[in-house]
């Protein structure tokens, strides 16, 4: 509605004979698009510089004598400008510099890199190897999950599209990974962020996580890895061994099985066409079993359907056939789990997690293709997250315009629909994180003092 009104005004240069109120509405309306002008306003009034600075400082912006004043300045940011110009190794010593640079350059994308041994701006003065090096020293443990990596198992969308039938795959990924990061690896300060279009990012910010080596990051990524797909193999998930590892068992029992049986079977209509059920049959390495099932399903096409959904019905048949007492081959019984894992288990981008110097998009950026803000996702309520309701740039600008005469500049963004996200970011993530950072800084300082004292005589 809004767009048509504006277009009609600009096209015809006529003002309809509408009331003043409507004219105001027209003036307040913005085109539902992403563009540099809107972005400028966003960076001018909404982007949370102070929060990003506080986060990236990890407590070193305090007054404590043990605070490392150089810490924030050694962090790499990168900007992608309007015409795809890419600026790497941007660094800032104070939040005011970060703010003025972003406002001036208006980057379409902001990435965050590692904390280096020295200020990235001075990197050319240092060697690549040996003693005096320019090298990453800290970096959050990060994960990137993109729904286009699931294209071979989702029938509703492909590529950049996402809908409510397939988005729950991301929800499942969050649940599985988040639980493992906390229960298995002992991490606490974990931020999940919507990537703006078709996926999610995860930032693990515990001190221990930030100091992991590339090899240790790779180990965690490999621990999470199950799907080993490419076009050439039929069996992209292979779960060997008489029994599964406790991590896989927990993921299956607590998340994957129910999701597959209660939601995905029907939302993706996994067995409803020959093409689709053949794909499942391809994953079963026993001709006798597959031809038996094929025979039954082929027949079913002609007979009248029972009330039960055909996908659920056929899945039950398949399970029964594979898991019945007749099947001695343990590999065959395992097919049931393999099918579930293949369709639902998280597919991570391994390269993103394995290298300290990999750059990742900053939270609260706006996605150029969708205009949506990269907002945090609460892992405890991720079932309720709906990407189609995430605030867009245009929407936020309209809200700002409607807010009109607010004079309290600091809280302008809080009054918009982004306010909820910002409050969540501050209370659920920042507060506990900074408390923990403060404790870490103070305790390492105390240890240092103690050792100094013991030698002072």
């Amino acid at each position: 509605m809004c767009r048509e009104e504006v277009q009609s005004v600009s096209d015809d240069m006529l003002i309809d004979g509408k009331s003043d109120g409507a004219e105001n509405r027209q003036a307040n309306c913005v085109l539902n698009e992403f563009n540099a002008d809107y972005l400028k306003v966003y960076y001018g009034k909404i982007f949370p510089y102070a929060e990003i600075f506080k986060w990236m400082s990890y407590g070193n912006d305090g007054k404590h004598p043990a605070c490392d004043k150089s810490y924030f300045g050694r962090r790499e940011f990168s900007f992608t400008l309007e015409n795809d110009i890419y600026l790497r190794f941007q660094s800032f010593n104070r939040v005011s510099q970060l703010e003025s640079s972003i406002k001036e350059k208006c980057p379409f994308k902001i990435d965050i890199g590692p904390v280096y041994s020295v200020d990235p701006a001075k990197r050319h003065a240092y060697a690549q190897s040996g003693d005096n090096v320019f090298t990453p020293v800290e970096r959050e443990l990060v994960f990137d999950i993109d729904i286009s990596d699931y294209d071979d198992v989702r029938y509703c969308c492909s590529g950049a599209e996402v809908c409510l039938a397939c988005w729950p795959l991301m929800t499942v990924a969050i649940k599985v990974i988040d639980t493992a990061l906390r229960d298995d690896f002992g991490f606490s300060h974990i931020l999940w962020v919507y990537s703006g279009r078709r996926g999610v990012h995860c930032w693990v910010c515990d001190g221990k996580a930030r100091r992991l080596t590339n090899e240790q990051r790779a180990a965690i990524a490999d621990y999470f890895r199950v799907y080993k797909g490419n076009e050439n193999s039929n069996k992209k998930v292979s779960l060997t061994g008489p029994v599964l590892h406790p991590f896989l068992v927990r993921s299956y029992n607590e998340v994957l099985k129910d999701f597959f049986e209660a939601k995905l079977l029907q939302s993706q209509k996994i067995f409803s066409t020959e093409e689709r059920y053949e794909k499942i049959l391809e994953m079963i390495p026993d001709e006798a079993v597959t031809s038996e099932l094929r025979g039954r399903w082929h027949e079913n096409r002609r007979s009248s359907m029972s009330k039960e959904d055909i996908n659920i019905f056929r899945w039950e048949q398949l399970k029964h056939t594979l898991q019945s007492g007749k099947q001695k081959a343990q590999g065959l019984r395992r097919c049931v789990e393999e099918i579930v894992f293949c369709f639902t288990y998280p597919r991570l981008d391994m390269e993103v997690s394995k290298h300290m110097n990999h750059l990742l998009k900053a939270p609260f950026c706006v996605h150029p293709k969708t205009g949506r803000v990269c907002v945090p996702i609460d892992p405890n309520n991720c079932d309720e997250f709906d990407p189609s309701t995430v605030p867009t740039l245009a929407q936020l600008l309209e809200e700002l315009n409607m807010g009109g005469l607010r004079t309290d500049a600091d809280n302008e963004s809080d009054g918009t629909s982004l306010g909820k996200s910002l409050r969540f970011f501050r209370s659920s993530f920042m507060e506990p994180l900074l408390k923990s950072c403060k404790e870490e800084i103070e305790s390492s300082y105390a240890k240092l003092q103690k050792s100094k004292n013991s030698l002072s005589w």
Partner: protein, 406 residues
Amino acid sequence: MEVIRSQRRSAPNDVVSTLPLYRSAPPLEVRLEDFESFAMDRLRVLKGISDGLSRGKKPEGMEKLVSEMWKANMRHPQASEVVNKDIISHFVLRLVYCRTEELRRWFLTMETALFRYRFRLENLEAQKALLAEFNLPYKSVSSAEFESVKDELGQVARSISQPLPTADAIFYKVPFEEVPELVAARRVFVQKGHAFVAMNQVVSLVVTQFRSLISKALLLTNRKWMSAIREQEKDRLTPIVEALSTSYLGPDYSQPKEFTEISIKDIDQVAKIFDACKLPVGAERFDKEYTYSIRHNYGREGKRTDYTPYSCSKIISFTPGVGDHHGCPYRHFSEENLRAALGRMGVGGRAVEDVMDKVRNRHYQLACTLTFEAVYGSSCDAGINHPNQYFLESRKILEQKNHTAA
């Protein structure tokens, strides 16, 4: 300082490990000849390991390889000197391999692999003792804690086809980042940041520690080398050290043992063998251009200098100019040309793909060895390290064939 004793007996049949951790340089007097020869012996072992790893040998194969190479190269006439040879050779090679990033990385990989497989070959008591030497703050899990995670430990064991842990099984609770390979393969139970490592997985733990030790030591050694040792020893140890990293370690081909007469008639036969290191040429052209240079190289023309022929590693490092016909073909030929050359030599099918795979991964000598094995249908375990070696080995096989034909 590490106390070196070749055997420590804690119980009648218990021999505690002789696997040193190389934490400090031994205060021993070393003869200059031993300085070099001990290092060469150890280098042979490390290069054998490098070979085994790049051929993709499985762990059982590597264990066997390490055991054999160690026995073959690291003996000493005096039994009491065996451990000293071990330690001295390691420290000499540290000097050799500390000097660049690439050398350090290679040395670290090979020494870590050597340590890993030697550790695996030790008995349980020796392994426990070695683990204790690292002074890690990791305790074995109490029986109460074991009970609380017994089910999960059992699940993990069964998932990797290991027997279920009994009540007296030893598990170590370590920070997960200390055993990255076990975590990556999901071979351990991980809970709240800790991995539960079974006794038979302890090798992973000690290898991580060992690698860290040696890595730090190499950087320190480099610093000392650059700041003091290199200059101080420039007339004594430094030339030996600098030669060791590029040394060729096969049999000595600088002194031709057999005085091989090559007549023009033999050229086609020889040309076949030398196909790999020179362009395949017909007899006439060979006569004009190459007979002279062959006789020159063998001291029969011109300067009468018997040039020590270059080893493969030297040849691989050359870049031929335009019109030059030498240089390692595996390094410098285009894929198309190399496939054609292999075809002319009678290598086909799977063997060609194996050779090309080695070339792509820059293992030029392994590619040559595989070619030799494919052409002659017999294996060459020592690997090709020198063109003369290729020639002599080929000649042996061709002579055998001639004999049986005759």
